[in-house]
Amino acid sequence: MQIDYIGSLPLIVIWLALGAIGIVIQAFVRDNTRLVFGYYVATLGLTGLAAIVLSGHKGASFGGMITLGGYANYFDALFCGAGIMALLAARPYLQKEESEVDEFYTMLVSSVAGMMLMAHASNLVVLFVGIELMSISFYVMAGFFRTSTKSVEAALKYFLLGCFATGFLVYGMSLIYGGTGSLAYGDIARTVVTQQLTYPTLFVVGTTLLVIGLSFKIAAFPFHQWAPDVYEGAPTAVTAFMSTAGKAAAFSAFVAVFVALLPAGWTSEIAQNQQIVIAVIAAATMLLGNITAVVQSNVKRMLAYSSVAHAGYMLMGILAGPSLGTDGMNGHHAIVFYATSYLFMQMGAFVVVGILERRDGGFLNIDDYAGLHHRHPVLAALMAVFMFSLAGIPPFAGFFGKYMLFAAAIERGFTWLAIVGVVSSVISAWFYLGLIVKMYFQDAKDSGHEAPAGLAGFTLAVSVVGVVFFGLFPQLLINIFRSW
């Protein structure tokens, strides 16, 4: 088996750090959360650094099961960065809740390892293992406050629905394997292009099941019901991580799978039918997410429904596919840009919520945020930036992400979908700006409480810099995408 040790370094580093050294540290060092925390921050830093340095090193490794360089390494760096931000935000949060256990950091890093595997996969087996490594770590993290009924309830719902979705996912993979005779993306694409499918019907059914399975992971309509409950019930630090990095990882896999299954783009007749289905799913996801978010009274639940809507926006990029010409808008690049900016703004918003949250689980209602600007001016200002960006108001990153996605959809003739997108963005402005109005133009009900940020302040700083910087200079990222 051919193994490119240099190119696979990011993966090898995180595997060794988790599976070999991390286990030993946890076995022999007891009750030293600080050491484990520092160790895993360093691990993610090193992995991310290796991914950035080796991003030009393209090729395949592990017998062609894993692709290296470019796209995959960009996502490696993104996941590691998100992991560090989540670790920094999680430590003060867990200390406040008095449930800091060092296993939490291990689970978080193991989910990052799963995400990296998803982005690197060029074989359905690797994709499956990556998705499961990420999901199983998330199940544990969602139920991390094991004495809290809400947290355990979130974990149970997430676990049952996630496993159910896994069933569809692997059945889809199995039928694709039967239809094409291979599990490798490259072989599947070749078989589809040359139209040498052994069982074309099985292939179509398998593709549909695989898309259903992945739709669960990105929380697209009609498979989104788990998202609000899980995001509300899970510890806020966990929600911040899994609603951002988890979604980015699912989309990184979605894009790669689509390139394999539809190598000729949306040209064939079956593909065009599927394109219509995905367009309807995207429209329904955007509208349903935003309309339901309007009536929510809990901040976490509101952000959860809005995250459903954002999955709908990103599906537009899948629909548009890679660009036809050289200067056209590339739907896949738009997804990567949106996933990046979404990561910063959504994580920032959840971290602010986590800092303000009280020990007893209070201060999660939208009404609690009235007059926040008097008591916590910095947090209120940061929250306002994230809300503006989520609503898609320039000059923040969310605006350019949305612009790229809508433009890509229009270029492919999906003007109606872009109109639905704009309408649902306007609906979303209602609750995003409503929160800002509450914070700045209403009087507080009570005197408030201390909300020290601690290490989470670093996460917030990075988030706000990312939101503003990529909003002002989107070209920097787009140039990276063009080099793949």
């Binding site: 199940y139 544990v140 809290s148 309830e153 149970l156 676990f159 896994t166 059945y171 599990l183 052994t198």
Partner: protein, 104 residues
């Protein structure tokens, strides 16, 4: 050696029937443990179809995939039963209808 006497379709029909049985079980039963058993049934139906495809195409990839599915299912069982256990400690129930603190 190819199992020539039984056609591939039969394996696929059996695996589809098992899969649908699992789906129906997940959707209709309310006991968390039984729901989880139904999910395991779905995964094993997939294993059957993978092995059949693999045997008939002469490609070893499908059988290899089955091992991964089995080990992932074991990991899921470990985590899932732990979650059900902590649910029982909190609420003295394992029926999913009683798990409804959060609603929209």
């Amino acid at each position: 050696m190819l199992p020539t006497t039984i056609p591939l379709d039969w394996y696929l029909i059996l695996s589809a029937v098992l899969f649908v049985t699992g789906v129906v079980g997940v959707l209709t039963r309310r006991n968390a443990i039984i729901i989880f058993m139904s999910i395991e049934l779905m995964l094993n139906a997939v294993n059957l179809s993978l092995v059949a495809f693999s045997a008939y195409s002469g490609d070893i990839g499908g059988q290899m995939f089955v091992f991964f599915i089995m080990s992932v299912a074991a990991a899921e069982a470990a985590v899932g039963l732990a979650i059900v256990l902590s649910l029982f400690r909190n609420k003295q129930t394992i029926y999913v209808d009683d798990v409804n603190v959060m609603k929209w």
